[in-house]
Each structure stands twice: as structure tokens, then as C-alpha cells.
């Protein structure tokens, strides 16, 4: 994806303009281009395959409805990622509230449901992966978003700041805290073993 964006920025800009003019075919092409990355981002932010599917659909439907508000020359990727990050944040907040209202006995069931990451992942999951995911899950949403956008999606500090509506310094600080926490959690896990 990154390569294709780099090779044909003019083509993507044209697709955006066409989509803004109401041409569904242009939006469908953008959808095909970005669906893998947006769904990956939502998955990385929620650790939930169902949420990745449902929230990503919401992201694109919102993008379709609001594409005329995208400034000329603005980054479509940053815009989509921002919608996705907001959707993921709302989802995590809702999930947190639901868990708080569950009786204590039901909490492990909720945890198990959240850990259900699809049949393929269940097959390949091992303890180390589970530990990394658990460590990621424990990060505050902003730190997690910064880490995921910078590490998995290769966004620069400025791009991540644009996507998360915060300053470049906030991105740098959150990245630093996120890595520090991740290191500590992973080291803690190793020490326990």
C-alpha cells in the first residue's frame, strides 16, 4: 500500500476528487486500497477481529458520507486513520463500561470473549504472542495508537500527530512511554517465567 501511494499520489488525489464529486466507482477503488490497512489498524487497536470488521465498515461509511469535507491536498490516509482511531477509542470505552457493569463472576467470560481473535489466530497463538498482545492491551489508548501508527503503519511523527489530533511532542512523549511500558511488561512476563 505504501508503495502504491508513493508511486501514484496524483492518481489517488484524482480518485479522492472523483469520490468527492459523487462517483461511487472512485470511492470503491479507495475502499479496496485502504480496507486492509484500516482493518489492520482497528485490529491492532482493539485486538478484536469482529470489531475490526464492524468498525472498519463504519469508518468507510463515515468517510463516504463526509468525503467532501476532506481538504484539497490533505492526506486521505491520515484522515481515514483518524476516523479509525476515534472509532476504536469509542469501542474500547464502551467495552470498558460494559465490563465494569458485569458481575464479578462474568468478568472472565468477557476477557475470554475479548481474547477471541478468530480461528487462524487461535491456531498460531502461543504464549509469547499472547503476552505481547496482553501488554499492548494494557497500554493507555493514546500510547497504543501512537505505537501502532508509528511502528506498524510507518507514519511519521507529524503524520501520527495529524491522525491523532495532537502535537508532535505529544506523539514523541507517548511513543517513549508506550515503549517503556511495553518493555517493562514484557520483562515482567519473562521474570515471572
Amino acid at each position: 500500500m505504501a508503495e502504491s501511494e508513493g508511486r501514484e499520489p496524483g492518481h489517488e488525489a484524482k480518485l479522492v476528487r472523483d469520490a468527492q464529486a459523487g462517483r461511487s466507482a472512485a470511492f470503491a477503488e479507495l475502499l479496496r486500497r485502504y480496507a486492509p490497512r484500516v482493518s489492520a489498524l482497528v485490529y491492532q487497536l482493539t485486538s478484536d477481529a469482529d470489531a475490526a470488521r464492524d468498525l472498519s465498515q463504519t469508518v468507510f461509511l463515515k468517510a463516504y458520507r463526509g468525503i467532501r469535507s476532506l481538504r484539497s491536498g490533505a492526506s486521505l490516509r491520515a484522515w481515514l486513520f483518524q476516523i479509525a482511531a476515534n472509532e476504536a477509542k469509542s469501542f474500547l470505552r464502551r467495552r470498558q463500561r460494559e465490563r465494569e457493569h458485569l458481575p464479578p463472576d462474568a468478568q472472565p467470560l468477557a476477557e475470554a470473549a475479548a481474547a477471541d481473535r478468530g480461528p487462524l489466530d487461535r491456531l498460531v497463538a502461543d504464549e509469547e504472542r499472547a503476552a505481547v498482545r496482553a501488554a499492548l492491551d494494557e497500554l493507555p489508548p493514546r500510547q497504543r495508537s501512537v505505537l501502532v501508527l508509528r511502528h506498524f503503519h510507518g507514519l511519521s511523527t507529524a503524520e501520527a500527530a495529524e491522525a491523532l489530533k495532537c502535537s508532535a511532542n505529544a506523539v514523541k512523549a507517548n511513543l517513549c512511554y508506550a515503549l517503556k511500558s511495553l518493555r517493562a511488561k514484557l520483562a515482567g512476563g519473562e521474570n515471572r517465567e
Binding site: R17, Q20, A21, S24, F27, A28, L31, R32, A35, P36, S39, A40, V42, Y43, Q44, A49, A52, R53, S56, Q57, L61, K62, A63, Y64, R65, G66, I67, R68, S69, R71, S72, S75, A78, W79, Q82, I83, N86, R117, G118, D121, V124, A125, E128, R129, V132, L136, R150, H151, F152, T157, A163, K165, K172, L175, C176, A178, L179, L182, R183, L186
Partner: protein, 186 residues
């Protein structure tokens, strides 16, 4: 190595590993780490943490998710979802306000005493006067509608990066910027 230098380096290790530093800062970190075992250790730990993330199977959503997203969204588009119109909610609000105002006047005129009881001449004069009031009010509502539209366009131009007429293809839905998603599709 002094603590302050170590703190600065350790705060930048993430950016360093993710390629976010300019050459000069990158080289400064490399020089420092070469002489500082503590920071070298931090660097190695952070690198391991990032490697562990790579191994966690999170690089992509599970198989089939992206395809399901494309299919689901395409389905909704086929059902007739449309992008928002040029003026979006402000115009809708203003139009609703105008309808309400005209409707309220209509009800008032329909339910008030007609004046026939008080004599034909006076009643007719009052009717003409009230009709003029309705027309004046309708004009006022239209002016307000126009003001709302003008203000909305002005904010749109401001957000789009400075004065100048809004061009076709510019953002057309109002004063939203990347990050301000209030109202997008909700």
C-alpha cells in the same frame, strides 16, 4: 556518562529505532550508546520489544476481515447511501427553522379572531396588515438563511487555508478539518 545525557538519549530511543530522527541526532545517539552500557541496554531492550510486536501476529487483521469490510461497505453503497450535500446540517437547520416560523404564523392566523365581528372595514385593514407582517417575516427568515449560508462558506474558506472563494472540489461540507469528525456520518 551523565544522567541528563542518558535521559535525553533514552527519551529518543523509540524515534531512533523507528527512523524518526534527523541524521545529526541519530549519530549523536549512536556515539552515546557506544560509550554507555546502560543506554545500550535500553536500546537493545526496546529493539527486542519492537521485534516482539512484529512477532505477535498483529501486522494485519485476521484473514477475511478486509474482504468482509469491502463487501459490507459496497453493499451499503448499493443500497443508496449518498455523500452529504454541499451545505449539510446548517442549511437543514435553517430550513427547518423557516418552516417552523411560517407554520407558527399560519396557525396563529388560522386561529385568531377574524375581525368580522368587529366590522368589515377594520377587519380588512387588519388582514392586509397581518399579511404584510407575514411577508416581512418570511423575508427576514430568508435573509437569516442567507446569512447562515454566507457565514458557513466563510468559515469553510478560513478552514481551507485563507481567504478566497471556495473552489469546486474544495471541502464543501462546512468547517471541518481533519480531526474534527463531529457529524461525519453520524
Amino acid at each position: 556518562m551523565n544522567n541528563q545525557a542518558c535521559e535525553q538519549v533514552q527519551a529518543q530511543i523509540g524515534e531512533y529505532l523507528l527512523g524518526g530522527l534527523p541524521d545529526a541526532e541519530r549519530e549523536a545517539i549512536e556515539s552515546h550508546v557506544a560509550l554507555c552500557p546502560r543506554c545500550a541496554c535500553e536500546l537493545a531492550d526496546t529493539r527486542r520489544a519492537l521485534d516482539a510486536l512484529d512477532q505477535a501476529g498483529l501486522a494485519a487483521a485476521p484473514t477475511g476481515v478486509a474482504d468482509a469490510v469491502v463487501a459490507g461497505v459496497a453493499d451499503r453503497l448499493r443500497q443508496g447511501l449518498r455523500p452529504r450535500s454541499r451545505f449539510g446540517w446548517p442549511l437543514a437547520v435553517a430550513a427547518a427553522a423557516a418552516c417552523l416560523a411560517v407554520g407558527a404564523l399560519g396557525i396563529w392566523l388560522g386561529t385568531r379572531p377574524t375581525g368580522r365581528d368587529a366590522g368589515g372595514q377594520v377587519a380588512n385593514e387588519r388582514l392586509v396588515f397581518e399579511a404584510q407582517a407575514v411577508v416581512a417575516h418570511a423575508r427576514s427568515v430568508l435573509r437569516q438563511l442567507d446569512d447562515v449560508k454566507r457565514e458557513y462558506d466563510a468559515i469553510g474558506r478560513m478552514v481551507n487555508g485563507g481567504p478566497g472563494p471556495m473552489k469546486r472540489g474544495d471541502r464543501t461540507e462546512g468547517p471541518k478539518v481533519i480531526g474534527n469528525l463531529k457529524g461525519v456520518g453520524s
